[in-house]
């Protein structure tokens, strides 16, 4: 009998759990540990953030779902990994701290044969003074609760606009090293849409601010797409979307500090600026959740297991090299920790070998470059590969048998607006592979048949279909395993 512990129950952790549950015979034990009692379909948070969906439509109780299975769910947060065990516990184990109100703060040690770290990111609002909904002046759509609060504040702005007041809305990234521009990109179009629906768009100035070198970078160094008989850069596509909607943009920007109604930012040329706002949604930078690691002698080995960012080291090539020497082969394939064969990290929890976008610094030495995106589709692909590898290793395989490199997988971003099936619209963008592979695709690093962008109602239908399909699948409803991940 083997015991597999999964830390985190987001898209990556929950996908790994449901596939392990299907693949492994009943004698094996699966434990999921998550500080959050609910699963959240994060891509639909943008709809919650503009009031077109309720929080309960994008979340469900994990305990209720896992009750239908043999998966043991513990509402707790991971604190430390002991991959060699300790002087008293012979097997590897992880210490967790309960977040259930009845047992909050209680510590527990769980032994494991295999551990999957799928803890996702820490939303590092503290990296920028005044950023975030809890201690700052901006809102967020990173969690369903944040998105709900964002909508509440947006509705107040819409009411003021209806009275004829002028308001400035700023949406984008809250630090020079942020990723997840796609979520902010979707949100800005949704805000523009609801303002138009409310008949108040003419009273609002909407501004995009981001750390991208050019619009449409998305932390992937931008993409090329075929359009209108030309191969053009995604920058043209993204700028066209902004101009059509009357949205201004500020790029190459590091948000330094936010005061009530004022954003202070630095741009790549080393100059400093201020931007007044009435409502702002800025994505925070991400870091690891702060897990620690100890060896058998209880010595701190966190720096051996985790990168400085707090994300876990896996089978990537972390050798520091100049940008020109980066390659698709640097990216991890099996997500196995190089020091401990039964330790894996997937989704946002693994440490990327380097950026995808070219590193940039302002004249003052401030890094202003997007971090690599790790969205739902790649997270699910990594989770399935790791689940299959663990099954094979339990059955005797020496090493992981399945791979899911970000240089061999795609991602999609559908910025869909509107609740009505015939009045909505969407900008649909896909990229393959996420990490450019100039050996396979020498010209642009990507497959131009699968890297495309288009605008229209079809994308809106697709996004609605994806929302319902993935929630149905995650709820383990009948036939879920036949749906694509």
């Amino acid at each position: 009998m083997s015991k597999i512990v999964i830390l985190g129950a987001g898209i990556a952790g929950h996908t790994a759990a449901r596939h392990l549950h299907t693949l492994l015979p009943a004698e094996h034990q699966i434990v999921v540990v998550s500080p959050n009692p609910q699963w959240n379909w994060v891509p639909s948070n943008v709809w919650v953030g503009v009031g077109q969906m309720a929080e309960k439509e994008v979340t469900f109780d994990l305990a209720e779902i896992y009750k239908k299975t043999r998966i043991d769910f513990k509402q707790a947060k991971g604190i430390a990994i002991h991959p060699e065990g300790s002087s008293t516990l012979g097997k590897p184990y992880v210490t967790i701290e309960s977040t259930l109100s009845s047992t909050a703060g209680q510590m527990e040690s769980i032994e494991y044969d295999y551990l999957i770290n799928a803890t996702g990111p820490k939303l590092n609002f503290g990296a920028t003074e005044g950023l975030g909904p809890d201690h700052g002046h901006t809102v967020s759509v990173c969690t369903a609760a944040h998105a709900s609060e964002a909508n509440h504040k947006l509705q107040i702005i819409i009411e003021a606009l209806k009275r004829g007041e002028k308001k400035t809305i700023v949406i984008g990234t809250g630090h020079g090293t942020c990723t997840c521009q796609g979520a902010a990109f979707e949100y800005i179009y949704n805000v523009d849409h609801v303002l138009r629906e409310a008949g108040v768009r003419q009273h609002a100035r909407i501004v995009w601010i981001s750390n991208e070198y050019e619009l449409g970078d998305f932390g992937m160094g931008g993409v090329h797409i075929e359009r209108g008989g030309y191969i053009t850069n995604g920058k043209t596509f993204a700028e066209s979307l902004m101009v059509e909607r009357g949205i201004e943009w500020i790029i190459r920007a590091h948000t330094k500090k936010i005061e009530a109604g004022k954003i202070h930012y630095e741009t790549l040329d080393g100059t400093f600026h201020e931007l007044d706002f009435d409502f702002s949604m800025l994505i925070p930078p991400f870091s690891g959740v702060g897990l620690k690691a100890y060896n058998k002698a209880n010595e701190d080995i966190t720096s051996q297991v985790f990168a400085a960012s707090g994300f876990m080291k896996v089978d990537a090539d972390y050798t520091a090299r100049p940008y020109a020497e980066w390659s698709a082969g640097d990216w991890p394939k099996t997500y196995q920790n190089p020091s401990y064969r039964n330790l894996f990290a997937i989704g946002i929890a693994f440490a990327p070998p380097h950026l995808i976008s070219k590193p940039m610094q302002s004249a003052n030495g401030t890094p202003i470059n997007p971090a690599p995106p790790r969205t739902g589709m790649p997270s699910a692909a990594m989770a399935i590969a790791v689940a299959k590898s663990i099954c094979d290793m339990i059955n005797g395989a020496e090493a992981p048998t399945h791979t899911a490199s970000m240089a061999k997988m795609g991602a999609a971003c559908v910025a869909s607006t509107g609740a009505h099936l015939l009045r909505g619209s969407a900008a649909t963008m896909t990229v393959y592979p996420i990490v450019p592979d100039y050996e396979t695709y020498p010209e642009y690093g990507r497959d131009l048949e699968l890297t495309f962008g288009e605008i229209g109602l079809a994308g809106h239908w697709l996004k609605t279909l994806l929302h319902h399909t993935f929630i149905y699948q995650a709820r383990l409803k009948p036939g879920w395993r036949f749906l694509p991940d």
Binding site: T236, E239, S240, M242, V243, E244, G246, E248, W249, M377, P378, A381, I384, A385, A404, K408, M409, G410, A412, L422, S425, T428, T430, Y432, E449, L450, F452, E454, I455, G456, L457, A458, G459, W461, L462, P484, D485
Partner: protein, 52 residues
């Protein structure tokens, strides 16, 4: 009759392409969008299959 002023050229919004009337119409034309829905779904499934 007021005199039409010159439009300021060298601004952010001056350069990107903007959709023509026919492009905007096709984005919401149900029949065309049903075709595009089938095409996008096919490409997405291909993308997902290549990713796993």
């Amino acid at each position: 009759m007021t005199k039409q002023m010159n439009k300021e050229p060298y601004q952010q919004a001056y350069y990107p392409p903007t959709p023509t009337g026919i492009t905007r119409y096709m984005r919401s034309n149900i029949l065309w969008q049903l075709v595009r829905f089938a095409v996008i779904n096919f490409k997405m499934l291909k993308l997902m299959r290549k990713s796993h």
